[in-house]
């Protein structure tokens, strides 16, 4: 059932107004106006999303609100509209994007208080909100792709926001180029789907239309699924295209929170969940998604343990957590993956905002070795970050516990035990690196540089308020998805099931010869507690121990510190060969040799023939007369030939 709901357009319109306002009037209107308008518009979009959500709740399960704005592409029988669709899945995404986004905008008012380019910053932020909402509200694959590219652009613009630093600009380009690789796969995936449907005479790219004709997609399901997933690995920073995300941390911290933690990077998960009807046709593609998710999750968590930079720890943590979401959607528990997406949006954006608060207090310091003991000076930041850390570590009753537990339970009941083992070990690592961060930053002796020590202060209320709100959601956000049979049970999954049906037995189902689900869950919890305890021993109880361990396990430590040398490997095996190919084959050979050769040869040929032909112009009138005579004779001969036959 679908109901026309014109107010959906407002969800997109409000951020767009913000973009126009900030670009054209932002500087003239002044800082105060921008600080009010930019967040207010996102709050308005949040309000409209809430209304739409309320309307959706009154409708039968599986219903959707829709709005067709105008026709977009009319090419024979191929017809695409600019059309929006607001179903249960979109509701979750839109509420997260506008809700979390609004509070991050508010936080930015305080964070960017010292920056002269506030108007440009908020223009980009509003543009991002607009693009991301286009992505989640789109009712067809092509419009979704427009949003997909739009968020990529905003990501680039905001990573390189302080573009006068060459390294930041470089990192922005890196993010953009790595995403291009993924997006090439994404667009090929779209074309594969369209082509498969078109060979049967069906011309549609709407999600409902494709789901209706899903049988025709069966032959190309694996190919299309993998190509689209390549796009997802780029956008959602999964192996093998995750390398841009840690470097994206040079952008302003609210950007990291909004784009590179809560919303944009989860677009890949949303895409897989949205196209669940395609993915369930191909167990192979699903296995790839789940495996990549689990491996990425583990891999990134190990790197996070030794990183010295507070934002880099969080970046690898984000990669790791998105791995969980991919694991969830990959084993067929789409709702569980989206559930983790939602809770992650709360606690990870909170973690970033807290890190931003710390950096704000320490004049941009990011090295945890020069922090410590900040707890007393910044109690709100400390408490909210502790809540977020407990949530991400999977300690009940915080939000992360329920979502992570659901993902792992489904992984286990899907029978892919090795993925479950990987995911469960990662829970321990997650707790370890997260409490390492907490202890190094807020506890122990202060290692802050003396010059900055007197300056340390709690952030202003405009920054503290979003922290508190997100902390509340980091606690209660998971309660919409309690285990079955407890209170209202897993309301979240029931809400999503008509849109993204879970295709494997429930998390309560034990698998043959395995351990009971409750024990599996307890193991994860125990590992999380062990992780916290280890962090306590290493970084509070015995601060010299990590150094000694790093000394004795020098090889492993260096491997982790240098992120498995993946950047170096990419440089060696991808960037350098590509550069060499461009420099010497494509430029030196094809461009300078063949293309320029043809152009030069044309010019030289004209010049040379002119040089030769101009010798005919002797200036001697008798020579001309002779040639003229020859011409006359030729014409005469021709007529003679005609007459004589």
């Amino acid at each position: 059932m679908t109901r026309e709901f014109p107010a959906l357009g407002l969800i997109l319109l409000f951020p767009l107004i913000g973009v126009v306002f900030n670009i054209f009037c932002g500087r003239r209107a002044g800082r105060v106006a921008v600080n009010i308008v930019a967040p207010a518009l996102i709050f308005l979009a949040f309000g409209v999303s809430l209304i739409a959500f309320a309307v959706l709740l009154t409708m039968p399960r599986g219903a959707a609100l829709a709005l067709t704005l105008w026709p977009w592409i009319e090419a024979g029988s191929f017809h695409v509209d600019i059309a929006l669709r607001f179903d249960a899945l979109t509701a979750v995404m839109a509420l997260v994007v506008t809700g979390v986004g609004a509070f991050i905008h508010l936080y930015s008012d305080g964070y960017m208080a010292g920056d002269q380019d506030y108007a440009r910053f908020f223009a980009y932020m509003n543009l991002f909100a607009f693009s991301m909402l286009t992505l989640v509200l789109a009712d067809n694959l092509l419009l979704m792709f427009v949003g997909w590219e739009g968020v990529g652009l905003c990501s680039y613009l905001l990573i390189a926001f302080w573009y006068d630093n060459p390294e930041f600009a470089y990192n922005g380009r890196k993010a953009f180029i790595v995403n291009r690789v993924g997006d090439a796969g994404f667009i090929l995936g779209i074309l594969t789907v369209v082509w498969a449907l078109a060979t049967h005479g069906v011309w549609t790219v709407t999600f409902s239309g494709m789901a209706e004709h899903r049988a025709m997609l069966r032959p190309v399901a694996t190919l299309a699924g993998l190509l689209l997933f390549l796009g997802a690995t780029g956008k959602s920073a999964q192996i093998p295209l995750y390398v841009w995300l840690p470097d994206a941390m040079v952008g302003p911290t609210p950007v990291s929170a909004l784009i590179h933690a809560a919303t944009m990077v989860t677009a890949g998960v949303y895409m897989v969940a949205r196209l669940n009807f395609l993915y369930v046709l191909s167990p192979q593609a699903m296995t790839v998604v789940a495996t990549v998710g689990a491996v990425t999750s583990f891999f990134a968590a190990t790197i996070a343990i030794v990183q010295p930079d507070i934002k880099r720890v969080l970046a690898y943590s984000t990669i790791s957590q998105i791995g969980y979401m991919m694991l969830g959607v990959g084993v067929g528990a789409f709702a569980a993956g989206i559930f983790h997406l939602m809770t992650h949006a709360f606690f990870k954006s909170l973690l970033f905002l807290c890190a931003g608060s710390v950096m704000h207090a320490l004049e941009g310091e990011q090295e945890m070795n020069r922090m410590g003991g900040l707890r007393h000076r910044m109690p709100i930041t400390w408490l909210t970050m502790l809540i977020a850390a407990l949530a991400i570590s999977g300690i009940p009753p915080f939000a992360g516990f329920f979502s992570k537990d659901l993902v792992l339970a489904y992984t286990y009941s899907s029978g892919q035990v090795w993925l479950w083992v990987l995911g469960t070990i990662t829970v321990g690592f997650t707790a370890l690196y997260m409490f390492r961060l907490i202890f190094l930053t807020f506890h122990g002796a202060s290692r802050v540089e003396p010059a900055k020590a007197h300056y340390v202060h709690e952030s202003p209320p405009v920054m503290a308020l979003p922290l508190v709100v997100l902390a509340v959601f980091s606690i209660i956000g998971g309660w919409v998805g309690l285990p079955e049979g407890r209170l209202w049970g897993n309301a979240f999954e029931h809400f999503l099931t008509p849109i993204t049906p879970t295709i494997i037995p429930g998390p309560g189902a034990a698998i043959a010869g395995g351990i009971p689900p409750s024990v599996a869950s307890a193991i994860a919890l125990a590992l999380a507690l062990i992780g916290i305890a280890l962090a306590w021993v290493f970084y509070l109880q015995n601060p010299g121990l990590p150094l000694r361990m790093a000394e004795s396990l020098r090889g492993l430590y260096r491997l982790l510190l240098h992120k498995y040398y993946i950047d170096e490997l990419y440089n060696l095996f991808v960037s350098r060969p590509l550069f060499w190919l461009s420099q010497f084959v494509l430029f030196g050979g094809i461009d300078a040799g063949v293309i320029d050769g043809i152009v030069d040869a044309t010019g030289l040929g004209v010049e040379g023939s002119g040089e030769g032909l101009r010798r005919l112009e002797t200036g001697n009138v008798q020579h001309y007369a002779f040639v003229y005579l020859l011409g006359v004779l030729a014409i005469a001969a021709y007529y003679v030939y005609l007459v004589m036959g």
Binding site: N620, Q622, L629
Partner: protein, 100 residues
Amino acid sequence: MTPISYFMVLSAILFTIGVLGVLIRRNIIVMLMSIELMLNAVNLAFIAQARRIGSMDGQVIVFFVITVAAAEAAVGLGIIISLFRNRATVNADELTLMRW
């Protein structure tokens, strides 16, 4: 009566002499005279043919040609005098200013 072919052969011989004069002689006054010779060779052919077919058209054309030839000789000699005053030569080999 003299056969028509005699006139035509004479006309061809005169025309050829004129052509060769233009092509070979270096003195542009002689070249101008050779052009006059060619015109008169053509005039002869016109007259002969006009007489053969009993038409006045050829004779009329000859009068036009004589008129044009007179004008041409006047203009041509004027150019040559001007040229000689400027360059002090009437040798075609030395008058190649408009060359590459």
